[in-house]
């Protein structure tokens, strides 16, 4: 019970949002007393909408959307944020922009009737009614339905659906005025699109007018820009688009009578929506690349307001990114950001159109953006202030291709959020070396003279009083290294990375799918180093690297700095797939192979020209290397040295590999052996020896293997002094399958335990597929398998619907004292299939996203089950409750001796065993565990959207003095006893004396 308290200081949690999908927005709200607050709003690839405090980069709030409810649009207005999610905008929500609290949730249409568009934000739009204080929202969903939603009650006021839904008009924009709501869409014609506008009455949702605007647009609705201007005669709106390199525009009136006009002058390449359409501003780039600000002026015409100097395409700098923002008085600002190849710095020009008597004022600055660390600037948001005339202070929020979000105040870097950590693909905890001891005198003792030695020893002795004082102090106060004390180094600590007394401090090497790898200090979650993956030859065409596996190829115990190998798949933009390996020093992130220069981009090594099937770590004595199999099952080694090749050649005949092969939906499981000699291609090749005899419509979803951990005891001694020997056949794998009708949902799920060397099925269970989805999670360690699934009660009419956790144990032979030495048996022995299985099913309190077991150094400590629940908690379930041998009656004395408790179908949901306690650890995808130096303790790192690290001691910290050990009590007791001796000694002496005197 005290475990949680004891580890309270030992954990950390990093709340993340995910990599922003679009440009973040500065959103400013005015409080009751005129004070303004601003937040940076963003929608991310993790399906989260979040707000970040611009002052310090911390998360103000976040709202997590379900996976099948993807965010397709959001818009903030005053104190509220409207979101649309699900296919075609099925669900509408209103959140409070300052707290993230949900105000209203409204289901607009079923997910099945939602129309899927590409891109997803096509066909949905949100507009707020700014004509009065009603806070009503106009919502366009499915490309043809407009609804007015009451701001106070969240109910639908009216709805309008395009009468001809079958027509090819898809609306994508909503503009509100007090007279009419304009729906702007595109109708498909032969080679291009035609603009279609509908005007709808804001009061009752009736169609006022409907018109096709003569136009021909090629590149979809991104090129449509609606500019509005709040004039003396109310709000005037104009629709602009690019057609044949000219800007065409048409005024929007309720009658839709206006004819399009063409703006004369320069030819344009592109128009950019910079978020200032309501201020009548947008940016258009000319054919030579120079950017022009175009303004919708008072007289209803579009005019060029500004041309950014030196924005012509040039090899000296990159193309510019444009962004718009408002200051607290509502004045617009336009920022242009680009990277200069010459100065190796980023530049920003901020235009304030209202300054300098309305002629516009540009403020420029350069800032030291680290492109080696963060990649390329992807999106920019700007926020500005105008403290005095001719002075503009601006804040820029940058998002980069590696998933970083940065805030720059002018040229000062304020904060960086590494949001790609919300998308970690593989991670590993790597042990740190011991602290370097000063050993300067070693070796000189033989040569130094007597005098010199005396002098040195005297000098050393000077420190003795200090040492003695320290010793006494330590003895009295008892400040030893304790299992719960913080292991985080002081912030000003510059000493090299080293482990703590108990090995709690490790370095977490985590590779993300945004092309970046991080070294994270497990003590406090700080990023120690980070490297950007190089793309190799694909740098010219572009591409992405998806890390698949990570292996620790050298540990501290091998005598040098630890090294890791990350195996990834590179998908180049020209659709070529390669397998790349990166060899990194885990302490510094340096490239071990030496192909990268300094702290430049990390260069990998192309191992396979093609996709990877599987990769394993092989250990032969002290050398470790990675074995990779390509699609043709050819064996590749990394690092490919002659020693490794020799070593592999020796072990090749004894290798058995169960592999999952095939295409999506029809994966098969087959056992493979490696050819003892190299084929003519110069490589070993794996050839199939068996295939699992599963029905043809059964798809192998995943293979769960046992972690390579020491097994402390080979058997379990029972209460009656007999022994059950654990079934520890090293080739056993757990296979999770799903059975489905062709192209239909899954009808049932399967769990198999298969002997991977010859394909014998040792155990099989058929599970219901709730909702047509197989979502079985399994953890396998030693001889113990635990799996979790949802039972929808379909198999049995009166059976309860609930989540189930099934616990299984495999023992050798037919019962007690039947030993077959399964861990050393030949794969071809008949005894490998002679096993007995104990099985028990429990009702589990909730759904989970991942399951794992704790792991310790020697495997003596009891293993707990760790799960990440759907309520954003990481919780441990003790083995004692999951023991499959729990009796169905009151335990006998012998069973009590084994600590068995009576079977209860319900697993207790103990909040004291929630490792993440008050932290909301969002959507943990995987939990990895790693042993500490202390046998009792296991380190736990969970990653998903958030990162979470803690330590657990399933059997309590038996190998370290209890944290609650009362030193004061001990000292007091000893002192009390000493006092008692002092007092009683003379008494006893006197008594003895008297006895002598009066003895007979």
């Amino acid at each position: 019970m005290l475990t949680i308290v004891r580890f309270l200081w030992a954990n950390w949690h990093k709340a993340l949002l995910g990599v922003p999908l679009t440009r973040p927005d500065f959103h400013r709200t005015t409080g009751a007393h005129g004070a303004t607050r601003s937040v940076v709003l963003t929608a991310t690839s993790n399906n989260v909408i979040g707000a970040v405090h611009p002052e310090n980069g911390t998360v103000a709030w976040r709202y997590l959307f379900e996976d099948r409810d993807p965010v397709v649009g959001y818009k903030a207005y005053n104190d509220r944020l409207a979101t649309l999610s699900g296919p075609g905008g099925a669900t509408f929500r209103i959140l409070d922009v300052n707290s993230g609290h949900l105000l209203h949730e409204l289901h607009l249409h079923s997910a099945d009737s939602g129309r899927l568009f590409e891109p997803v934000n096509l066909g949905v739009a949100i507009a707020f009614d700014d004509s009065d204080k009603s806070k009503d929202t106009f919502v366009l969903t499915n490309g043809h339905t407009l609804r007015r939603i009451n701001g106070k009650s969240g109910d639908i006021v009216w709805g309008w659906t395009s009468p001809d839904q079958t027509s090819l008009v898809v609306y994508s924009k909503v503009v509100t005025t007090s007279d009419a709501i304009y729906l702007i869409g595109l109708a498909k014609s032969f080679a291009s699109y035609t603009v279609h506008v509908s005007a709808i009455s804001p009061d009752n949702g009736e169609l006022l007018s409907d018109a096709d605007v003569p136009s021909s647009i090629i590149n979809g609705p991104q090129g449509l820009i609606v500019v509005s201007h709040e004039g003396t005669r109310g709000k005037s709106v104009r629709l602009a688009w690019l057609e044949q390199a000219r800007i065409h525009s048409v005024a929007l009136t309720p009658q839709l009578k206006d004819k399009p006009t063409i703006k004369k002058g320069s030819a344009y390449l592109q128009v950019h929506d910079i978020g200032l359409q309501e201020k009548g501003l947008f940016v258009a780039t000319k054919e030579d690349g120079s950017g022009r600000v175009i303004r919708f002026s008072e007289d209803g015409a579009l005019k060029v307001f500004w041309e950014f100097a030196d924005s012509v395409k040039s090899p000296k700098y990159t193309e510019s990114t444009y962004a718009g923002g408002l200051d607290k008085d509502g004045w617009p600002y336009i920022a242009r950001v680009y990277w200069s190849h010459v100065f190796r710095q980023a530049s920003a020009h901020v235009l304030a159109p209202h300054l300098a008597e309305g002629k516009g004022l540009v403020t420029g600055f350069t800032f030291p953006f680290e492109t080696q660390k963060h990649g390329i600037i992807a999106n920019v948001a700007v926020d500005a202030a105008n403290p005095e005339e001719f002075r503009v202070l601006s804040r820029l929020v940058l998002t980069t291709t590696t998933g970083a979000v940065q805030l720059w105040q002018q040229d000062q870097h304020q904060w960086t959020r590494e949001e790609s950590l919300a998308d970690i693909r593989v991670a590993e905890m790597v042990e740190l070396p011991e602290p370097q001891l000063v050993a300067s005198q070693v070796g000189i003792e033989e040569t130094e003279s007597f005098g010199a030695r005396l002098r040195r020893q005297l000098a050393d002795a000077q420190d003795f009083p200090q040492y003695a004082i320290n010793f006494a102090k330590r003895f009295a106060t008892g400040s030893y290294a304790s299992a719960s004390s913080s292991i985080a180094p002081a912030s000003n600590d510059t000493s090299p990375l080293s482990r703590d007394t108990f090995g709690f401090r490790k370095i977490i090497v985590a590779a993300t799918s945004h092309g970046k790898v991080f070294g994270i200090d497990s003590a406090n979650g700080e990023i120690i180093w980070s490297r950007v993956f190089g793309l190799g030859w694909a740098a010219e065409v572009g591409g992405r690297i998806f890390p698949l596996k990570i292996f620790t190829t050298r540990t501290v115990s091998d005598g040098d700095t630890p090294q890791v190998v990350i195996v990834g798949q590179r998908k180049a933009d020209n659709s070529l797939v390669d397998t790349v390996a990166f060899h990194i020093d885990a302490l510094t992130g340096e490239d071990v192979s030496g192909t990268s220069i300094g702290q430049d981009i990390l260069q990998g090594q192309d191992v396979i020209a093609g996709a990877l099937v599987e990769a394993y770590l092989f250990q032969d004595g002290p050398t470790k290397y990675v074995v990779l199999l390509d699609e043709y099952l050819q064996v590749h080694l990394f690092p490919d040295t002659p020693e490794n090749a020799d070593s592999f050649h020796k072990v090749a005949p004894s290798i058995h590999l169960p592999l999952r092969t095939g295409t999506a939906g029809s994966h098969r499981l087959g056992g493979h052996k490696v050819s003892p000699e190299k084929e003519f291609t110069g490589r070993h090749i794996a050839y199939p020896i068996w295939t699992a005899s599963l029905p043809p419509n059964e798809d192998v979803r995943s293979i769960v293997t046992r972690p390579h951990e020491p097994v402390a005891s080979l058997g379990k001694v029972l209460g009656n002094r007999t022994t059950l020997y654990k079934y520890l056949n090293p080739g056993v794998v757990v296979v999770l399958t799903s059975t489905s009708t062709p192209s239909g949902p899954a009808t049932s799920c399967g769990v198999y335990v298969i002997d991977g060397t010859k394909g014998t099925i040792l155990y099989h269970a058929n599970l219901p597929a709730a909702g047509g989805v197989c979502d079985v999670k399994a953890a396998f360690t030693e001889n113990w398998l635990v799996y979790h699934y949802y039972d929808d009660g379909s198999a049995n009419a009166d059976q309860a619907k609930s989540y189930r956790m099934v616990s299984l144990e495999f023992y050798e032979g037919s019962g007690v004292d039947d030993k077959t030495s399964s861990s050393d048996l030949s794969a071809y022995s008949n005894d490998t299939t002679r096993i007995s299985v104990y099985e028990q099913s429990y009702v589990f309190p909730r759904g989970i996203s991942t399951i794992t077991t704790t792991s310790t150094k020697f495997g003596i400590t009891v293993k707990d089950i760790l799960v990440a629940g759907n309520n954003h908690q990481v919780q441990s379930f003790p083995r004692r409750f999951l023991d499959p041998r729990r009796p169905n009656r009151k335990p006998t004395a012998e069973e009590q001796e084994e600590w068995l408790i009576q079977y209860d179908p319900l697993l207790p949901d103990d909040p004291k065993r929630v490792l993440s306690h008050r932290y909301q650890v969002a959507r943990i995808r995987k939990i990895i565990t790693s042993p500490a130096l202390l046998e009792s303790t296991s380190l736990v790192f969970g990653y998903g959207v958030d990162l979470f690290f803690t330590r657990v001691a399933p059997s309590k910290t038996f190998d370290v003095l209890n944290e609650n050990f009362n030193k004061a009590q001990l000292v007091l007791t000893v002192a009390g006893l000493a006092l008692a001796i002092v007092i009683t000694k003379p008494m006893v002496r006197r008594k003895r004396l008297r006895e002598r005197w009066y003895a007979s």
């Binding site: 308290v5 309270l8 949900l102 929808d792 309860a800 319900l906 004291k912 009362n966 009683t984």
Partner: protein, 268 residues
């Protein structure tokens, strides 16, 4: 799913509204509501009409979380959702505690609340084809679904936060009184006091009783030492046989009296 209206007037109105909400066709509103007012007269007609109009709809399950001292508001609850079964159907809890689970097909469901810090009871919900309102019943996890509990709860569903998860165990700190309240400590103190007081007690004891006491003590130490040596048998037999030995042997008695006499003599 079909949206069938029963004969219950109030219920059918609600259901019709539900259908209209979901259809989102404002034109229908007036006509249908007016016809509902005369439902008793021509129910069949409307039944067919409504089921034709929105035949692909299901029930919207509504309810609310009642804020109480355990959970005073949304700020405390955080982002929470009310789910049916394994979460394929769900509704989020809004700031005023309300939730709607849209489009629930008929069937039996277990309703639970997914919240980070708060525990809620589970409910069994039966959305029926025939009746208009779903049946709400309490449900104990791990129990079979049939037969259903005889207790029914009102609809719309009311959920009450039952408990706030307590993740922490208070850290024990050193205090002197607590230390002396420890039974081990009390035992130790007791023995200490007894040890000090023993000579005086012995002195004032009746010599005969004292003799008996000494014997018994010797026996106990004997048993103790035999247990410590792992020789349970002797210990046990000593325990068993102890009584037997003492009762048939009256021999020590005169000794005891002699001792008493001697003791008396000595004192005098």
């Amino acid at each position: 799913m079909e949206c069938v209206v029963g004969l219950n007037v109030i219920g059918s109105k609600e259901k019709v509204r539900n259908c209209i909400d979901a259809c989102g066709t404002p034109l229908l509103t007036s006509s249908v509501t007016s016809t509902v007012d005369i439902t008793m007269m021509i129910p069949l007609l409307i039944l067919t009409l409504v089921s034709l109009l929105c035949s692909s709809l299901a029930f919207d399950l509504k309810g609310r979380v009642v804020w109480n001292e355990i959970c005073p508001g949304i700020g405390d609850l955080g982002q929470a959702k009310v789910v049916l079964d394994n979460g394929n159907l769900y509704g989020s809890v809004t700031r005023n505690g309300q939730f709607v689970i849209p489009e629930v097909p008929s069937g039996t469901y277990i309703l639970s609340v997914v919240a980070h810090d708060h525990a809620f009871e589970r409910l069994r919900i039966d959305v029926l084809d025939t009746d208009t309102l779903p049946e709400v019943r309490p449900y104990v996890p791990g129990t079979p679904l049939s037969p259903p509990s005889p207790v029914t709860l009102p609809y719309p569903i009311t959920l009450i936060p039952r408990a706030r998860y307590d993740y922490y165990t208070p850290q024990e700190s050193f205090n002197l009184v607590g230390m002396f309240q420890n039974p081990m400590m009390l035992l130790m103190l007791g023995t200490g006091v007894l040890m000090l007081a023993m000579p005086y007690i012995m002195k004032n004891m009746d010599p005969e009783v004292l003799q008996e006491f000494k014997e018994r003590q010797a026996k106990i130490t004997d048993i103790q030492s035999s247990i410590q040596n792992g020789d349970l048998k002797t210990g046990l037999s000593a325990m068993m046989g102890g009584e037997e030995k003492t009762s048939p042997a009256p021999a020590p008695k005169p000794q005891a009296s002699a001792a008493r006499n001697r003791g008396k003599n000595k004192r005098r």
